[in-house]
Symmetry: C2
Subunit: 586 residues, 2 copies
C-alpha cells in the first residue's frame, strides 16, 4: 500500500477559507491562535502520523496483542510510538491548562485525530479513550482526585479506560451489577466483571486509570442507581507515585475481526479500591458529559479509515493497467489504460471522495462548534451545545457506516488483490467495522437522534442545527446553487418537523432511515457551501475539484436521501408485523 499522504490541502481550505478560522478565533478571544498556526500543527501532526504511527499499522494487525502472566503486550513499536507521542506533547493537546494541558482549539486537534486514525486505528484508540477519561475527571472528579490523577492523564504518563459494559449489560446499562461498597476512609471496594475494555491493560504507561460504572448498596434500580468510580491499576503512594497493585486484573483479551493491535480486555474487579467521581447515583450523567466527544471521535475513526482506503484505491487505480477506457485510449504507449479512467472505477473513487470530504467538512464544522461551546458568549455556548447534541449521533453513525462502505469500495477497486492481506485494504474494512458498534451501536445513535435530540423541547436542537446550517447557506454567493442548498435544507427541516409528533414505536422503526436521510441531506448542504467557497480559492485544482465533486454528490449520492425518507415514511407497521415463527417458519 502506498504511503499515506495527509490531506493538508483540504484541511487548510476547510479551516482557513471555508470556516474562516482567523475570524473565528478572533471572535472567541483567542486571537493568538490563527490559521497559520493551525497549518503548522496539522503539518507536525501529519509528520508524526505518517512517520511514526502509520508504519506500525500492517505489522500490528498481523502480530496482535498477547496476555501472558496477567500482563498485556501490544505489537512491536506501539509502546515506543506512544512514548514519543507523549514526549512531543500530542496527548496534552486538549487538556486543561490548569493541569498542564495545551488547550488547543478543537479545530486544530480534530485534524490531528483524523490523521492518527488514518494512520493506525488500533494505535489511536488508546489515546482516544484516555482523552475521554480526562474529560470525565475534569468535569466531575473532586479536586483531590484531579490533583492526583489529571496532570498525568493529560500528559499521557498514565492512560485511562472506560468500563461500562458487562456480559449481560451492553446497550442496557440499567442491568449492570458491578458493586461498590463504601469504606470508612471514603474509598469504595469495587467488585464485578467488565467486558470490551479498550486498553484495559497495555505495555505503554506506568499506570492505568479505570473509570468504572458500579452500584452502591442502597442504589435505586435501573440507570438511576449507577455511580462512577475511579479505580487505578496501581494504587498511589504518599508521593502520588504508582506503588501497590490494586485488586484489578485482566481476565482475557478478545480475539476480534479487526483492531487486533488494540487489546480489548475482560477486566475483573475483586474488592478493588476506587473513589467516587461526581455524585452518588449520577454515574450515567457523568458518562454522558463525555459521550458527545467520544461518539464524535468514533465518527472520526470512520472518516480516518475511509481516507486511508481512498488513498490506497486511488493510487492503485492510477497504476493498474487493464482494458481500454470506453471514452477513448488514454495510454497509447501501453496495451491498456489505467483503470482510473474506467467510468465505473471513477464512480467508486468519487463515491469515496464525495463522502469523505463531506464528512471531513462535517467534522470540522462540529469542531468549530466545540470551540464555540467552550469559549463563546453564554448564548453562543447554549446554541453550540444544541448543535453538537444534535450532530453527535449523526457524526458517529453516518461517518462509521460511510467508513465501512468506503473501505469496502477500496477493496473492490483492487479486485482480487483487495482480498489479500498484504495490500492492507481488507484490514481497513475489518478495523473500521468496530466503529459501527462501540460507544453505542449505530442503531442506538439513531434512536438517540430521533427519540431524544430531535424531539426534546419541541425541536429546539433541530432549530439550532437548522440555524447553523442556514448560516452557511446565507453566506453563499452563487444564487442558483444557493437556492438549491436552501431548498435542500428547508426540505430537511420540514421533514424533520413532521417527525416531532411520532410515538416512540414509530420513531424507533424510523430511526436509522431518518438518521441516514438527515446525514445525506446535511452533507448536500455542506457540499453546496464548500463548493461555493472553493470558487474563490486561489488553488484552481481544488476549486475545480470541489465544484465537480459537489455535482457528483448531488447527482449520484444525494438520491439515497429519498430512498431513506420513503422507507421511514412508510411507517412502522411492516416492520412490526412479522412475529414469532413467521421469522423462520419453524
Amino acid at each position: 500500500m502506498p504511503l499515506y499522504t495527509p490531506p493538508t490541502t483540504d484541511f487548510q481550505f476547510l479551516l482557513r477559507d471555508w470556516l474562516a478560522l482567523d475570524a473565528h478565533y478572533e471572535k472567541l478571544g483567542i486571537g493568538d491562535f490563527d490559521s497559520e498556526l493551525a497549518a503548522e500543527i496539522i503539518s507536525q501532526g501529519a509528520k508524526f502520523a505518517v512517520d511514526v504511527v502509520a508504519p506500525l499499522n500492517r505489522d500490528g494487525d498481523e502480530e496482535g496483542c498477547k496476555l501472558e502472566n496477567g500482563k498485556v503486550s501490544t505489537p512491536k513499536g506501539f509502546a515506543d510510538a506512544y512514548q514519543e507521542y507523549v514526549a512531543n506533547g500530542w496527548n496534552a493537546m486538549l487538556g486543561s491548562a490548569e493541569y498542564d494541558g495545551q488547550e488547543l482549539p478543537y479545530t486544530m486537534a480534530v485534524p490531528v485525530h483524523e490523521m492518527l486514525n488514518t494512520a493506525n486505528l488500533s494505535w489511536r484508540l488508546t489515546t482516544m479513550l484516555t482523552e475521554s477519561a480526562v474529560l470525565a475527571v475534569t468535569k466531575h472528579a473532586s479536586d483531590d482526585l484531579k490533583n492526583k490523577y489529571l496532570a498525568k492523564l493529560i500528559s499521557g504518563e498514565w492512560t485511562g479506560t472506560m468500563n461500562l459494559t458487562e456480559p449481560h449489560a451492553g446497550t442496557d446499562l440499567s442491568l449492570l451489577n458491578t458493586k461498590a461498597e463504601p469504606q470508612d476512609d471514603g474509598s469504595y471496594k469495587i467488585t464485578g466483571n467488565k467486558i470490551f475494555i479498550t486498553a484495559g491493560d497495555q505495555d505503554w504507561s506506568s499506570n492505568v486509570i479505570h473509570l468504572v460504572l458500579a452500584r452502591l448498596p442502597d442504589a435505586p434500580k435501573g440507570v438511576k442507581g449507577i455511580s462512577l468510580f475511579l479505580v487505578p491499576k496501581l494504587l498511589l503512594d504518599e508521593n502520588n507515585e504508582p506503588a501497590k497493585a490494586n485488586n484489578v486484573s485482566v481476565g482475557s483479551i478478545e480475539h476480534k475481526m479487526g483492531i487486533k493491535a488494540s487489546p480489548t480486555c475482560v477486566m475483573n474487579y475483586d474488592d478493588a479500591t476506587g473513589w467516587l467521581v461526581g455524585e452518588e447515583h449520577q454515574g450515567l450523567a457523568c458518562m454522558f458529559t463525555m459521550m458527545n466527544d467520544a461518539r464524535f471521535q468514533v465518527g472520526l475513526q470512520g472518516l480516518g479509515a475511509a481516507e486511508a482506503s481512498y488513498q490506497g484505491a486511488l493510487a492503485y487505480a492510477r497504476e493498474r493497467v487493464q482494458s481500454r477506457a470506453p471514452q477513448g485510449v488514454q495510454n497509447p504507449e501501453g496495451k491498456a489504460d489505467p483503470i482510473v479512467f474506467q467510468p465505473d472505477v471513477a464512480r467508486m473513487l468519487l463515491t469515496q471522495k464525495a463522502q469523505i470530504e463531506g464528512a471531513r467538512a462535517l467534522s470540522l464544522f462540529y469542531a468549530k462548534h466545540m470551540d464555540i461551546e467552550k469559549l463563546g458568549s453564554e448564548d453562543e455556548k447554549v446554541q453550540a451545545e444544541k448543535v453538537l447534541q444534535f450532530l453527535t449521533p449523526i457524526c458517529k453513525a453516518y461517518m462509521t457506516d460511510m467508513g465501512l462502505e468506503t473501505t469496502s469500495i477500496g477493496v473492490q477497486v483492487f479486485g482480487g488483490h483487495g482480498f489479500i492481506r498484504e495490500w492492507g485494504m481488507e484490514q481497513l474494512m475489518r478495523d473500521v467495522r468496530i466503529a459501527m458498534l462501540y460507544e453505542g451501536t449505530n442503531g442506538i445513535q439513531a434512536l438517540d437522534l430521533i427519540g431524544r435530540k430531535l424531539t426534546r423541547d419541541g425541536g429546539d436542537m433541530l432549530a439550532a442545527t437548522y440555524d447553523a446550517f442556514n448560516a452557511l447557506v446565507t453566506d453563499m454567493s452563487d444564487a442558483e446553487n444557493k437556492a438549491l442548498a436552501q431548498g435542500l435544507l428547508d426540505d430537511w427541516r420540514a421533514s424533520s418537523a413532521d417527525c416531532l409528533g411520532m410515538d416512540a414505536t414509530t420513531a424507533a422503526a424510523a430511526a436509522c432511515d431518518y438518521l441516514a436521510y438527515t446525514a445525506y441531506s446535511l452533507l448536500g448542504v455542506l457540499w453546496y457551501s464548500m463548493a461555493d467557497t472553493a470558487a474563490n480559492s486561489d488553488n484552481a485544482v481544488l476549486a475545480s475539484s470541489k465544484q465537480k465533486t459537489r455535482d457528483f454528490y448531488i447527482a449520484r449520492i444525494l438520491p439515497r436521501r429519498d430512498a431513506h425518507k420513503a422507507a421511514y415514511c412508510a411507517g412502522p407497521d411492516s416492520t412490526l408485523a412479522v412475529a414469532g415463527s413467521e421469522f423462520d417458519y419453524l
Copy 2:
C-alpha cells in the same frame, strides 16, 4: 453460534407451490422426478451440510491452510468431509449420465448448493470449481480427454481448477502471456504463472485437473488468441491412473481476509504437459460456456452466507434481553425484553429476511430456467438461455452485494459481540467479501449486463426476461397486488428500454446503479408473486409471513430502486469530470 437449520420449508414452498415443480418436470419429460423426491434430496443434503460440513467452519477459519514442502494441507476434517461427499454421490449430482453422473435437475441441486455455502463457504468452493471444470470438459474436450478425465471429475475422485488470472491480467485477459508450445505427440508444453487459483492443490483428491488459459506461438493478439488446456497435476499412465508428476507446482498460498480454509494458490507451470480443450484460439469462448454457471454459483455464496448470518442474528435477537420494547413490555417476568422486539432490530432482521428469501426465489427461478435450457423444446431452450444470460450478472452481483450487507447486519444485531471471532458472525462477513470480487468483479457484472446482455440483438434478452417475469405476474390471483406487480415490472422494462441507446461511456457510468435498480425491481416482482402463491399455502405461518415480508420489502427495501435509477439517469458527466490531480489536490 446456534446450529444451522436448513430452510427446507421455504425450499419446499418455492419449488412445489411457487414454481409448480411437478408440472415443470412433467413438461420437460422427466416425470420420474417430482417435488417429493426433491424434498427428499434436499433433506439428505441438509443433513450432510449440517452434520458434516457446518461443524468444520469455525475451526477451519482459525486453522487455515498450509503449504509445506510444495504440498498444500487444508484444515482438520476438510478432506474427510470431502471423501464422504464423494462417496455419497453428491459431487455427481449434475454430471452427465454418460460419465456416471446423476443428471439431477438444477432445481434439486441448487438448494443443496445453497446449504453447502451456508454451512461452510471455504469447503464448498473446491467442489464448485470442480463442477465448472466438468462443464468445460463436457462441452469442449475431445472424446479422448473426456474418456480419461470426465468420470473421475464427476465422481470427485479428482478435482478441477480454473486458471485464468495472471498478476498483470485480471479483468483484462487479453494481457495474459502464459505460453503453450505444440509438441509432436499432439500435446503442448505450458509455461507461465497463474494467481488466485482456488484449490490449486489440496489434500483431498488423488489428482488435480487444471484448466489453463494460454497462448499458442502463432496466436493473434488480445482475447482472440487465447486457448484452453487441460493440465493434470499427475500425468496418467497407460491404465489412466495418476502416475508421474507433471511440471506444475504451487508457488505460494495467499493470506486472505476470509475463506481461509480454502487454499488460494499461485501456480507455476514450467513446460508442463497439457492438451488442448476445444479449438485453438477459442479458449475464452470455452470459458464462457461455464461462466453463467460459475457466476450464478458465486451468487449462491452470497445467499448462503446471508442465510447463516440471518439465522445467527435471529437466534441471538430472541435470546438477548436488553431494554424494554417501546410498543410495550414483552417479557414481564424479566428485567428487559428480547431485542427481537426492538423495532430497529426487527428492521435489521427483516432487511436480511426480505432480501434472502427474494434472492432464494431468484436463484430457484434461475434453476428452473437451467432445467428448461437443458431439456425444453428448441424454442424453450433458446428463450431460457436468454433469460439465464440476462439474469446471470444480476444473480452474481446483487446476491453477493446483498451477502455483504446482510452479514454486516448480522454483526450489528450482535452488538460488540458480533466483532468477536468466537461468535462466528464476523467470519461470514470476511468470507463472503470475496464473492463480490471473483468470477468477474461486480463492476464487471454490471458492465456485462448493461453493455452486452441488455443491448444485444436490440434488447432480445431483455424481452425474454420480461416475458419470464410477466408469466409470474399473469399467474397471480389477487387483482390489487397483481396490478402493483405489473406496474413495477413494466416500469422496469420501460426504464431498461431507455438504456438501449446509451453509448459505451454512458452505459459504463450507469452500469452498477442500473444493475441494482434492476435487481430491486425484479425482487419486488418476485415478492408479489411469492406472496400471491403463499396466500393459498396450507402452512398458515408461512402464508402470513410471506405477505408481511412482501409488505416490508415494498415499503422499506424497494425505495432503493429509485435512488439507483436517479443516480444512473443523472448521466456520466459528473462521474467523468474529475480528473488528474483533482482527485487529491497533489
